[in-house]
Structures are given as structure tokens and as C-alpha cells.
Amino acid sequence: MEIVYNGEMDKRACKEVLGRVIPQLVKEDPEIVYLDADLMSCIGTLKGTRDVADRAINCGIAEANMIGVACGLASAGFKPIVHTFGPFASRRCFDQVFLSAGYAKNDITIIGTDPGVMAAMNGGTHMPFEDMALYNTIPGATIIDVTDPTLLESAIRQCVNRKGVKYIRVGRKQYAKVYAEGSEVPIGKATVLREGGDAVVFASGILVHEAMKAAETLAAEGTQISVLDMFSVKPLDEEAVVEYARKTGAVVVAENHNRHGGLYASVAQVLCERCPVPAACVAVEDEFGEVGPQGYLQERFGLTADHVVAQVKAVLARKG
């Protein structure tokens, strides 16, 4: 694995990665089946799966049924990859995921696109600030908050062969490039992107880029922070949390999700039990989503580099 972050966007949008990798996997591995709920054209998988149509199944707009069907296919030995937008991949079919997949031990990989403010123009009904919270409650589940296209590909390839319920949340747009193309990024392990002793920011998804920008701003003012990519929200790299909390004594958690039940909640639990230090979050407060361009929404819900800077300063003040 190689880290190449320099603040620039990865040229590939994640939609392109999904549109390439999913058909590829179906073709490479006869055990893989791909199910979608009338959103194949939104991730560019319509064309690429035409010649493997028997294992690329459009279930129509019926997400709960799709999860059940995927679980049935899993029981027949297949490795299902399921896709729909984030809210419909979490809230809409949660009991089916919890019981038919989790409890009944039918292992499936679920991809939920456009998490949090990335749902932008689709607005409040399509804007999940709580999808990770739901998946966090499923015993043994895996939750990946995607950092960039390379991580996306690496995560999908690992997830299809992993036990349990696997949930990958990813925006279809471009992300800042963090990992060198072709890198394998092991699930369960945080990635240290920047070292600094004054505070640590544990970030995931689009907030990784914001945290890195914040680190630059703070460095210019003489404050050195560590930034860790916590893409593996579950299982969480608890050792990394404890190590960096001890090293710095001040923690900020940044995520494109609400403050309840996501990365902040999981990190805070670890801190409480093993290493209590001042902590704060950059996350959505107790609010529903709304419509608008992503840039506006990041301002509106407090998910920018400036917000990270402000929260780092706030925890530093409490650190004393």
C-alpha cells in the first residue's frame, strides 16, 4: 500500500470504478452474483453485465425483496453484491439485512451509494446520515466508508470473500486521491496519513480530505496534528485509536454522518473505556438532510476543513 495524497482529486470517479469492477468480478468468479434495484445505469453496470445477465439481476425498485433474494442466493453458495442508493440500502431494508443476512448467516456485500451530503441534489429523502449507525448494530458486520477509488476497489474485492454482512458506502463522484492505484488496503486497519503530536483527527469518507486540508492550515499556525483514515468503521482499529489518543491527548472525529452511532460513537466508546481524553466531532448534528449542491451542504451541516480546524482548537483548549 502506498499513500500519494497531495490534495488533488483522483481522476476516476467512483461511478467508473463500480461500473468496471462489478462486471469484472461477475465475469472472473462464477460464484459472484450482482443484484441491483433499478439503479444499474446510475453506477454504469448496465452495459458491462449484458453478457453475464443471468448473474446480474435487476430486481426492480424492491429493495427489501432484493436483500432477501441475495440471501437466498448466498445460501446456495453464491457471493452476492447488492447495490442501491444508501438510504434504500440501509433504512429501507434493514430488517431483511439484519435477519435474513446477519442472523441467518447469509453473507452478502451491500453497496450503498451517495452517503450523507453526497446525495446532494436528490435531497433529504435520499440523504442517509444514519446508515452506519444501523449497520453498526449488526453483530459481525463490516462497514467501509470509502476514501477514494483505489480503496473502493480494494474494499469490494476483500468484502466479497469476507464473512458476515458487509456494507460499503461510497459517493459516485470524484474523491481526493489518497492511495496509489492498485494498492491493497486491509480492512480493519486504520491508515496513518499524517503524523503530528498536538492532536489527532480520526476521519472517514470525504472528511479525510477535509481533515488533511485542516492539518495544513493548522501546521501553518504551528499546530501539528495526526490524521488517520478510519475507512474501516467496523471493525474499528481500536489499537490505533488508543495509540494516537495517548500520543496526542486530544481527539477529533470527522465523518459524513450524524454524530449518533457512526464513527464518532465508536471511537468515543473506545476512548471512554481505555483512554479518556478530550474529544469532539465534526459530524451532522441531530438533523435531517436537505437538498442542495454538496459544497453548500458541507457548509450547512458543518463538514468542512474549517469545521475541523475549529474542533481541533476546541479540544486543544480543553487539553490544557
Binding site: 430486481c59 426492480g60 425498485i61 441534489m121 442542495g292 453548500y296
Partner: protein, 280 residues
Amino acid sequence: MDVSKKKELQALAVRIRMAALEAIHSLGSGHIGGALSICDVLAVLYGGEMRVDPQNPQWPERDKLVCSKGHAGPGVYGTLAVKGFFPYEELKTLNRPGTRLPSHCDRNKTPGVDMTTGSLGQGTSLACGMAMGEKLRGRDSRVFLIVGDGESNEGQVWEAFSFAAAKKLDNLVVLLDWNKRQLDGWTEDVLSMGDYVEKFNAFGFDTVKVDGNDVEALQGALERTRVGNGKPFAIVMDTVKGAGIKEVAETVMNHSLTVNDEQYTRWMAQLQSELDALEG
């Protein structure tokens, strides 16, 4: 239907299309196909069939509309703007920061929008509850429910339809927008739903099928629903996704399209000349 009434409704439908196009173009893209397919039924509903008061959108005795295919918001907003529920100019705020016109219908934001929708399927049960509420309150208001054909893939839709028939909600009028297309293309290819008329009848509805882009046919079907007969009503509207703008209708994948200035100008001119012919 007399000729002048027919022309009036047709003209209203054109105005609604122009307003929807105005909103979508101001943003640069949007759910144009599904908005255009329902403009004729919206014209009939808001052109007289529905009991509403633009000055008093919260009037309890009004008839209510649930556009369960909430992505057709621009069609609904176009209608409400033309009817004066809010200023026409506001159409240009579609999806803008702080707007009252989000891409999907929102009862807490837009004057005249009776129910929040966007997660497909959910509006159907909401409409059942609303219709039941009218009955419990002793009001004679009707509830009109627009459902997409793709949307009808959702199991919840059929739970709601079972409920409506079992509870004899004869003040509920389901308007199924059978435009034969959903997001990934032809409904027949994505998930074939069989014969809607047979399905509705089997579920216990009073059902008719009409040309859903013909205001006269729609008006006739809707008149039948003014007096309840113990069964919920279903009108299967045979429509074209993108109806009213030829180029949009002929684009198979027309669920969501970009609209540039050149297209906007040309399509507006076409609609304007239709309007002139109807009103001239």
C-alpha cells in the same frame, strides 16, 4: 366535454410543461421524463376536478394529492405555480440552497404539497391513511394518489392497495402512471409487472384504463370517482414518459436529463406555439 373546456385543460397542461421545463432548465438537469408524463392529469386535477384553494393551501376540506413518485416534483411545482400557490419566479429556485422546491415533494416546504415523498412506495400507504382520516373526520374530500409503474415494484404499494380495498376507501383514487419506463429503461425488461387492470381488479378496485395524456379521457375517468361505491378507484393511465416534448419522449433513457439553453429555447418555442394554437 365541450370544446372550450377541453382546450382550456389542454392549454393548462402545456403551461404546466413550460413551468416544469423552466424549473429543470434553471438547474440544468432533472427528472424530466416522469414529470412530463403526468402533466395532463395534473391539469385535469388542478384545472377543476380537485377542490383546492391556492390562497388557503392548508384548508382542511380540500382534496389532497399524494405524488408518490416524488421525483416528479417539478411537474407538481409547475402546476402549483401556474395555479398561484406560490410565485412563478420561485420555480427557478429548484434545488437551490434553502429552496422551498426540493427535487422530491416535501409537505413541510412547498405551499400546496400535501405529502412528503421521494422514497418510492411510501406515498401509497400515506394516501391510505389520509383517505381513512377524511372518512373518520366525516369529510367528503378525496385523496388522489399518483404512483409510478416502476414504483409499483415495491411490495409496500401492494400492501397499501390491499388495505385500501379491505377498508373500502372509496375516496381514494389511484392514478397509475403507466409510462412503461423506469430508471434503468423499459419496465418490461427490468421487472415485468403483468396487466395492471387485472391486478387492480383482483385487489378489489374499481378500475379503468385510459389514455393518460388525453385530458378528455382523464376527465371522464375522474368524474366517475366523484361518488364512492365502496371500492377504491384505480385509473391506469397509459402515458408516454416525456410526453409533450418529442425529443425527450423519443430518448429512451429519459428518466433524468440535462437541459441546455439551446434545448430549452427550442422546446419552449414549441410549447408556446401549441399554447398559441389552443388559446388563439
